[in-house]
């Protein structure tokens, strides 16, 4: 463990806030003093990842406001790390500001550290390093019951031996409200989730969707400023889930609360969030609005994780101001938008959304135009997915809308496939 996690007086000073250069300098200093450990070395390899949101904000040429501690941050993670076994870090160096009133989603595959992050915020796990601030004061070592944070659990965690009303009255009794006040608040909360008729039922007598709404009401009944939700819709069927997504969104808007929402379902994240933090391997890979994430993923992981994506691998052959030329392994040259490329000769992954690929485009409209062959057609009602072999790959998916009839392609038919430069993002691989 020597030099793994810097546990000295300096460590508490933290890195200069959200400045990549200062941060790297600080890392480097520590590395010099302790010898760079594996984990840090890896982070240095991928400064992108280690400093997720600040980097992505810059590279995309967009300033993500609220990132620089302008006083509006409700929650602030300062250089937080978490390890369960003392060997591997589940959360690696997390710095994140959560703004007052926003709906922030932590999105990532399982084991990416998103739930651990939420648990640290709720107070059920203590960071092994770093600070968490709520309203400007540190809550790192505050027990969960003192934090006044509402939480909705994955399996609702409704107390099975209590009725719905008793479940809701628990946080109010703890806060020593008088009886009339408790009754009034319970009624109000149940009306809010339209379950006023179910106050005397036990959780076991409710359907999944109703239990979910009770859990929501219980987390909101004591009017917390911040509400955490840990995959709350995971146990519901698709239709109910979509309905609840809208309902939660409306509650968030009407109550003006701040919500931190954990999910591994990207469509859920896109539907509900103001901002999404994409987690993988204990690191935030990108923190941005849903459209930003989809339209301008800043690295290969985000591109792959959010939405559907065609990937082509190659090397940067030429780099100029606006675009770059990428030479694919199969020998084709593609014009692409350099997002994070390390320079000429570096390996890149090209990311192409299926709906941005065009079959048989008009000549001269697309800088990238290649000959290919239709391999397979899948009819999906509103659109048809056409699998095309081109550019040395046989799995390029093209979404062709059926808005003007079903496209008349046949498997084996030669076809031309094209895309615009700005829809083809070159990401370091």
């Amino acid at each position: 463990m020597a030099g793994h996690v810097p546990y000295d007086a300096r460590a508490n000073e933290g890195p200069p806030q959200c400045l990549l250069r200062g941060y790297l300098l600080w890392l480097w200093k520590i590395g010099c003093r302790h010898g760079v450990s594996q984990m840090e070395a890896r982070s240095l390899d991928r400064p992108m990842s280690a400093q997720g949101q600040a980097v992505s904000g810059k590279l995309d040429g967009q300033e993500l406001d609220g990132q620089r501690g302008d006083g509006k941050a409700l929650v602030r993670f300062k250089d937080v790390q978490k390890s369960y076994d003392g060997e591997t870090l589940v959360v690696k160096r997390l710095s994140l500001d959560i703004r007052q009133g926003e709906f922030l989603t932590l999105l990532g595959p399982s084991g990416s550290g998103k739930t651990t992050t939420l648990m640290m915020l709720a107070g059920f796990e203590t960071p092994t390093h770093g600070e968490i601030e709520l309203n400007g004061s540190s809550i790192t070592h505050m027990p969960p019951e003192k934090r006044n944070i509402g939480m909705v659990f994955q399996n609702y965690a409704l107390f099975p031996h209590m009725t719905v009303a008793e479940n809701l009255s628990f946080p109010l009794e703890v806060r020593k409200y008088n009886k009339a006040e408790i009754q009034a608040r319970i009624r109000k909360s149940l009306e809010m989730v339209r379950l006023d008729a179910f106050a005397n039922r036990r959780p076991g007598q409710l359907s999944g969707g109703q239990q979910q709404r009770v859990a929501l009401a219980r987390a909101l009944v004591f009017e917390p400023e911040l509400v955490l939700m840990d995959e709350p819709l995971g146990a519901l069927d698709k239709q109910l889930r979509e309905h609840m997504q809208i309902e939660i969104r409306h509650l968030h808007q009407s109550l003006g609360i701040t919500v931190v929402y954990v999910t591994h379902d990207q469509s859920e994240a896109l539907t509900m969030s103001d901002r999404i933090a994409v987690f993988n391997d204990g690191i935030i890979h990108q923190l941005a609005s849903p459209s930003e994430l989809y339209e301008r993923p800043s690295n290969a992981f985000v591109a792959q994780f959010i939405g559907e994506n065609n990937r082509l691998h190659g090397k940067v052959a030429q780099l100029n101001g606006q675009g770059c030329t990428v030479e694919l392994s199969a020998g084709f040259n593609v014009q692409a938008l350099p997002v994070n490329v390390d320079g000429q000769g570096s390996p890149v992954t090209l990311s192409l959304r299926p709906e941005r690929l065009k079959l048989d485009p008009q000549d001269g409209t697309m800088p990238n135009l290649f000959n290919g062959e239709v391999v397979e057609l899948i009819y999906l009602g509103d659109h048809t997915r056409v699998r095309v072999a081109a550019c040395g790959a046989d799995d390029l998916i093209v979404k062709v809308p059926n808005s003007e009839g079903v496209p008349a392609y046949q498997p084996g038919q030669p076809v031309r496939i094209g895309w615009r430069l700005e829809d083809c993002r070159a990401l370091a691989s």
Partner: protein, 403 residues
């Protein structure tokens, strides 16, 4: 209903197969468990020996109205029966049975039987009264004979509850110097209650620890809980004797440490009995509680904490109520098992700590009075069932979880 018929036909082979699968166990239980216990319990109210040994008397005494002494025919019938008894060597049985209800009767019956065997002819009434005025000249023995020659008797059950019939067939309390069984039943319940409470107090935290530790650690602890469980009851009890006796390990250690100067009595008293029984019963209380705790998701406690409940308050309001079915199961199991303890009180307890099973064993093995043994056993069973019903009313047996 052609559909119902069709359904029955379709299900028939499946039902038969299911029956065939359970048949061996069912037969085994019926033959080795239910039937013997049922027959034994039946002995508590069914005792045909006296009637069988005194057939003529049984018939003749029906005409006696219970006032004064019976007439000559009854004495003659008894004389004939006693003559036969003397020949068949069953006079002792008759004497013993009557002796249960009138102490000292056995020798008198034997003497009378010898006298009657020599008599050629009557009048028998005079001869009997001459033989022993105190027994044959008083109506008491005739009341007993009239009542107890019938095959069904309430005597054993009443005696187990410290009651008996008086001469007029009324139920009265047994004289205080012979009334011991109610005290013993109360003692049995009290010891079982103490053991249940102590196992709960000691076992609940252990169960909680087992349920909340990571699996690798909790498995080791579980083995420690189970090792005594796998050891013979007798071995564990004698181990307690070794520890507790006046020259035993605990006394030696306390004196060596200078805490005591005189050896204290740890064994052959109530404390020793409850201590040893608590130790033996611990796993029975722990395991049901543990298995219930294991099913309680940690997210309930987390939810309670996140809603603002402190750790103790959350435990008491949220966690503890959910473990009640396990507590119920564990305590019921320990209480019922404790009611039937025999070996441990017999080895570690004093005379005042013997429980009802001790007397069942005494009547079965030493006194050979199966009627009393059955009656005491039956009452113990009835008590257990009543507790079970009460528990079911209060908590609901469907909420009990053993695993």
């Amino acid at each position: 209903m052609p559909l119902k018929v069709a359904l029955k036909r379709a299900e028939r082979s499946r039902n038969l197969r299911a029956l065939a699968l359970i048949a061996p166990l069912f037969l085994f239980i019926v033959l080795t468990f239910a039937a013997p216990i049922g027959m034994l319990l039946f002995r508590a109210v069914y005792d045909p020996d006296l009637g069988r040994n005194l057939p003529a008397t049984t018939e003749a005494i029906q005409s006696w109205n219970g006032e004064g002494l019976p007439d000559e025919t009854v004495y003659a019938a008894l004389a004939a029966d006693l003559k036969a008894a003397q020949e068949n060597k069953t006079a002792g049985q008759i004497g013993k049975r009557l002796n249960y209800e009138m102490s000292g009767t056995r020798s008198k019956i034997l003497a009378t039987a010898r006298m009657v065997a020599k008599l050629e002819s009557g009048p028998y009434k005079e001869a009997f009264i001459k033989q022993d005025q105190r027994i044959w000249g008083q109506p008491d023995v005739w009341h007993i004979l009239k009542r107890e020659t019938k095959p069904f008797t309430g005597y054993y059950l009443l005696a187990s509850l410290d009651h008996q019939f008086d001469g007029n067939g009324n139920i009265v309390k047994t004289s205080p110097d012979q009334a011991i069984f109610i005290d013993i039943f109360i003692r049995t319940l009290w010891i079982a209650f103490l053991v249940t409470i102590f196992t709960l107090l000691l076992g609940y935290p252990i169960a909680y620890l087992l349920a909340s530790l990571p699996t690798s650690t909790s498995n080791l602890l579980m083995i420690l809980v189970l090792v005594p469980f796998w050891t013979s009851l007798l071995v564990r009890t004698t181990a307690w004797v070794v520890l507790l006796q006046t020259n035993g390990v605990i006394n030696d250690a306390l004196i060596w440490l200078g805490i005591l100067h005189d050896r204290i009595q740890l064994i052959f008293n109530r404390g020793g009995t409850v201590l040893a029984m608590t130790h033996i019963q611990l796993p029975f209380t722990i395991l049901p509680i543990y298995s219930v705790m294991k099913t309680i998701s940690p997210s309930y406690m987390r939810a309670a904490r996140s809603l603002g409940g402190g750790p103790f308050y959350s435990f008491w309001r949220i966690y503890f109520p959910q473990t009640v079915p396990g507590i119920g199961a564990g305590c019921l199991l320990t209480f019922i098992l404790s009611l039937g303890y025999y070996i441990t009180p017999a080895l570690v307890g004093g005379p005042a700590d013997q429980m009802i099973s001790y007397f069942v064993a005494l009547y079965t093995n030493t006194e050979l009075n199966w009627g009393m043994a059955s009656a005491l056993g039956g009452l113990l069973l009835a008590m257990t069932l009543i507790l079970y019903v009460v528990y079911n009313r209060l908590v609901g047996i469907d909420k009990v979880k053993l695993g």
